[in-house]
Subunit: 420 residues, 2 copies
Amino acid sequence: MARRNAFYAQSGGVTAVINASAAGVIETARGHKDRIGKVYAGRNGIIGALTEDLIDTSRESARAIAALKHTPAGAFGSCRYKLKGLDESRAQFERLIEVFRAHDIGYFFYNGGNDSADTCLKVSQIAEKMGYPLIAVHVPKTVDNDLAVTDNCPGFGSVAKYVAVSMREAAFDVASMAKTSTKVFVLEVMGRHAGWITAAVGMAEDAATPIPLLLLFPEIAFDEAKFLAAVDDRVKRFGYCCVGVSEGLQNAEGKLMADAGTRDAFGHAQLGGVGPLIAALAKDRLGYKYHWAVADYLQRSARHIASKVDVQHAYAVGKAAVELAIAGHNAVMPAIERTSDKPYRWKIAVAPLTRVANVEKMLPRSFITADGFGITARARAYLAPLIRGEDFPPFKDGLPQYVRLKNVAVAKKLPGDFKV
Amino acid sequence: MARRNAFYAQSGGVTAVINASAAGVIETARGHKDRIGKVYAGRNGIIGALTEDLIDTSRESARAIAALKHTPAGAFGSCRYKLKGLDESRAQFERLIEVFRAHDIGYFFYNGGNDSADTCLKVSQIAEKMGYPLIAVHVPKTVDNDLAVTDNCPGFGSVAKYVAVSMREAAFDVASMAKTSTKVFVLEVMGRHAGWITAAVGMAEDAATPIPLLLLFPEIAFDEAKFLAAVDDRVKRFGYCCVGVSEGLQNAEGKLMADAGTRDAFGHAQLGGVGPLIAALAKDRLGYKYHWAVADYLQRSARHIASKVDVQHAYAVGKAAVELAIAGHNAVMPAIERTSDKPYRWKIAVAPLTRVANVEKMLPRSFITADGFGITARARAYLAPLIRGEDFPPFKDGLPQYVRLKNVAVAKKLPGDFKV
């Protein structure tokens, strides 16, 4: 088969390990020079393809690419730019193929979540329709952990570890001061619709390190009276209470408890602020002194406390994507298949994108305790392997050493601009 | 000299390394059994002494005490309980001496900040007045880094490292998404009056890793127009802007930008919320999408990313406190004296408490750039050694293993209760 170039783009919110997937793609492609020529990356994600703003990753040293394995966020830039249906966004899809054709791109690797899986599938469909030979492989990524088929999503394990470690540490702080100071501590975490990250906060405590901890899942409608009773009970019994709350907490009417009012390009509400709101409730209704933290981007960029298993997953799906593409698999996604909980064993499976695109995998109700405030043994069995192992980045002078690539642009071949 | 018992208490807000000071005190005392009998700790700080609620640290294994070196927060509990003047709080001071007498306590080690240094001094004065032989030594601790005489305060270096690492990581995240998403990211940090922690955020960036970063110090009155112009400039030039803001940011009238209205036992306002406020400004006035994080307790309890130098300092001041006490130094504090910036060299000096008590060491204006938004080379030279080195705690199953002590109570010897 002829040698063709590859295009790789990062999509949506970045993670602490998405660059490890990039390293997996690029290093594996470099090992198959007979089949893959250059790997071009989209500057700022798919927008880079639409505007023909491609980055030549062959200009990066092997060392720089290896350093992506320990560098958080998106090395080539990412974007929230949603391609709609084939008809609605026909101009965009055709432009993509035009750019691919101009640069002899035969492989499309798209590193993202649900929306991106859908885009990846549609790109493979339009290519086929247009008679353009293209292999499209989706590389899974999302801190929200809500992709179908795959056991878990690279990026999630590291956020899970961050929130569990952070809540454990904060709980030690609160416990030692509770006698005369803060009695209620609230940590707001990400996870718009699915409470995977909220569940991970529950890993902060275990039999050896019990913590009076309440979780407020986006799946469980907020019941103020029940919550306040639970807080009061914990404070009275243990002297303090820690609360992990999802940014997507909803009331009984299905309305977000905190909606900043702005929306992103996908139409998602910009969230943030439910943590302070919940904390103030404890003060107003129960009179307890409170503190709250909103980790926001800190949780998804905290490469310094990334999960080793997560880093391994992230690299593996990048590597597998290239291997699948070379083997001729089109419109697929390498998925993580768990073969054993204890010891944790996993392998890469192949998921057709038709089973992944736009499907949201919710936290099973069986992962949440009957009272709605905690996680079950099943949830623990699922989460435990994903936060396991440390993979500290190199430090210099006390700070992690993260790589910034040169990101050299590929010369444009097409006339004119394309407005995105 | 006769062998007498020691009393150790933690005071005020805890830190990621205050327990390392406790380990320094206890391990060193254990090495001087000819002079120091038992080390009793105050349960929940000085309140434990007032209520005769003492913890017998001799009941803890050597291994448990050693584990304090890598365990955040206050292992015996801490409190915000301010003793006032000798006359105003005479009953409390006399009660302390009464409890000390009942338990043959000849050494008082008080691990805290400015207020505690003052209390420690007053306890030594009342003991002398009452003819009770007591050696009182203050062990420095505060994330605020505002103690006089000592070069820096144990606890600060680790917060400094946390905020610098966190801002660096978040900046990578923001940079990669800025094209279509968040352009302004705000991280709110602690530091009521002195901008030491705010300055430490500045260490997130350096020549090798430039970041468009603005700092809002509590020492510099907030100038909205100037700030917005600076944000707009950074976004226009670099595509995004990161902001580190002190919880204690004030307006030109000296009023806190965000005052939740509640006050702690020291009369300090409970802060929190200036981060969201500043972020919203960027949106309302400039139209930029924003995100904000409030690290709150996460920053001061993050033992997982503690500074090795800070851990060493913390242990050293605990150890030195015992050695000074045994050598007969009364009403003093072991201080960290920097003898060289590069390479960083330090030793323990002895500071009389009269020079430490109630003095607040502010961030020098020379540490802040002329425009008020950054740190100078002098600040960097000062801060650099304090965040250096990693001292990761042991991990098991992906989580840091922090010790919880047995905290066995000492039998009471005094009749009746003492109301605090």
